[in-house]
C-alpha cells in the first residue's frame, strides 16, 4: 500500500463499495466469517462484504443484511451495479470460513465457518456467477485486502504468510 492509498476496514457484518479510487478495502482477523471480494476491472468498481452468518432466517422474519451470506452476496452485487459494475465482468474471490473453535461434542454448534462456505456456494450459484479463486475453511485466522486500483486480493494468514488470491 502506498502512502496515498486510503485504507478502509470493512467491519463485521458490513460491506463497502468504492469506484475509481486508490484505496484498499480490508477485513482484519477473519475467523468463521466470509470476506467476499468482487472487482469490475473495466468500471474500476470494487467491493467487499464481511459476512458473519449463513442466513438471516426465513419468511416474514427474514433479515436482509450484509451480515448474512444469503443476503449479503446479492446486496454487494446490487450496490456495485449502482456504481457502474456489470455482474458478468466481476472477478470474484472469497476467503474465511475457518472453524476456529473445536470442542468435543459441540462442533455441530460451532461449525459456522463450514455453513458459511456452503451458503456462499449456493448464493453465488443463485446469482449465476462463480468465484475465480477461494481460500476458505481450515482452522486458522486470515486477513484480506482488496486493492481497488488493480483488483489484486492479498490474503495473510495468522502465521504471517501473505499470498495473492
Amino acid at each position: 500500500m502506498t502512502a496515498n492509498e486510503e485504507s478502509i476496514v470493512v467491519g463485521l457484518g458490513e460491506m463497502q463499495v468504492r469506484k475509481g479510487q486508490s484505496a484498499v478495502l480490508s477485513c482484519i482477523g477473519l475467523g468463521s466469517c466470509i470476506a467476499l471480494c468482487a472487482y469490475d476491472p473495466v468500471a474500476k468498481v470494487g467491493g467487499v462484504a464481511h459476512m458473519v452468518l449463513p442466513t438471516g432466517g426465513t419468511g416474514d422474519k427474514k433479515q436482509v443484511s450484509p451480515k448474512y451470506v444469503d443476503t449479503g452476496v446479492p446486496l454487494l452485487f446490487q450496490e456495485m451495479s449502482k456504481q457502474g459494475a456489470v455482474k458478468s465482468r466481476l472477478v470474484i474471490k472469497a476467503t474465511g470460513g475457518a472453524q476456529m473453535l473445536s470442542i468435543p461434542g459441540a462442533n455441530g454448534r460451532l461449525n459456522v465457518g463450514e455453513r458459511n462456505i456452503a451458503e456462499l456456494e449456493l448464493a453465488l450459484a443463485k446469482e449465476g456467477v462463480s468465484a475465480a479463486a477461494t481460500d476458505v475453511g481450515g482452522t486458522r485466522g486470515r486477513s484480506v485486502k482488496l486493492f481497488l486500483d488493480t483488483g489484486r486480493v492479498m490474503v495473510r494468514t495468522v502465521e504471517g504468510v501473505t499470498s495473492e488470491l
Partner: protein, 206 residues
C-alpha cells in the same frame, strides 16, 4: 447504554450482581491454581455490537491465546479467557512452577495446562452463579487456541449473533502485583438465559 426490545427482557442490575459474584469466584480459582494473589482490576457488564467486538480484547490483528468453553443447563452461553501470548506463557510457568521465561510456545503440555486453567475459571464462575441463582450450569471441556484477536472474537460473536444483533459481555480484567500478567474474562450468555437467570435469582432473593 441503550436497550433494544430483546435486551429489555432482563434486569441488568441482577445480572451485574451475578457477574460480579461469579467472576470474583473465578479469579479465586485461578489464584489457587497458580498459588499467587490475583487482583481484579475492572469488572463490567456491557452490551457490545458486532462493530466493536474486537475492541473487547485488543487490535484485530494482535495475537491472543483464547481458552474457550461453552456452558449449558438452566442457562447457556460461552466463556472466553483471553491473554496475550507472552502472558499465557507466563501463566504456564507459574502453574508448572518453572522459572519465568521457560515457556516459549504452546505445545501439548502447555495447552493442557491452559485448558486446566479454563476448567478452573469456568467451573468456579459457573458454580458461584449456579449457587446464587439456583441454576444448574454445566461447562464443556475447554478449547485452547492461539490466533488473531479478530478471528477468535468474530468466531465467538458469530455463535452469539445467531440470536441477537448485540451481545452482553461480562468483561473482567485482572492482574498480579509485580508480574506482567493481565487477562480478560468474557462471558456471553445467550439471550434466553438472561431472563431465566434473572427470574431465578429474583425468586431466590425475595
Amino acid at each position: 447504554m441503550t436497550y433494544n426490545k430483546a435486551s429489555s427482557l432482563f434486569d441488568l442490575s441482577r445480572w451485574s450482581r451475578l457477574a460480579q459474584i461469579g467472576s470474583i469466584n473465578a479469579i479465586t480459582g485461578l489464584s489457587e491454581m497458580v498459588d499467587q494473589e490475583i487482583k481484579v482490576t475492572a469488572l463490567s457488564l456491557e452490551e457490545v455490537s458486532m462493530r466493536n467486538a474486537s475492541a473487547l480484547i485488543g487490535e484485530p490483528d494482535d495475537m491472543m491465546v483464547g481458552i474457550y468453553l461453552l456452558f449449558s443447563g438452566s442457562a447457556s452461553g460461552q466463556i472466553m479467557l483471553a491473554f496475550q501470548p507472552q502472558t499465557a506463557f507466563e501463566l504456564v510457568d507459574m502453574a508448572m512452577g518453572t522459572p519465568p521465561g521457560t515457556t516459549r510456545e504452546l505445545g501439548e503440555m502447555e495447552q493442557s495446562v491452559l485448558a486446566e486453567a479454563g476448567n478452573v475459571v469456568g467451573s468456579f464462575f459457573l458454580n458461584a452463579v449456579a449457587d446464587h441463582a439456583s441454576l444448574r450450569l454445566l461447562p464443556s471441556p475447554p478449547a485452547v487456541v492461539m490466533d488473531m484477536v479478530g478471528s477468535l472474537i468474530s468466531a465467538v460473536m458469530a455463535e452469539a449473533l445467531q440470536e441477537s444483533e448485540t451481545v452482553f459481555v461480562i468483561r473482567l480484567s485482572f492482574s498480579l502485583p509485580g508480574r506482567q500478567i493481565e487477562g480478560r474474562f468474557l462471558v456471553l450468555p445467550t439471550l434466553d438465559s438472561h431472563t431465566d437467570a434473572s427470574e431465578n435469582e429474583e425468586n431466590q432473593t425475595t
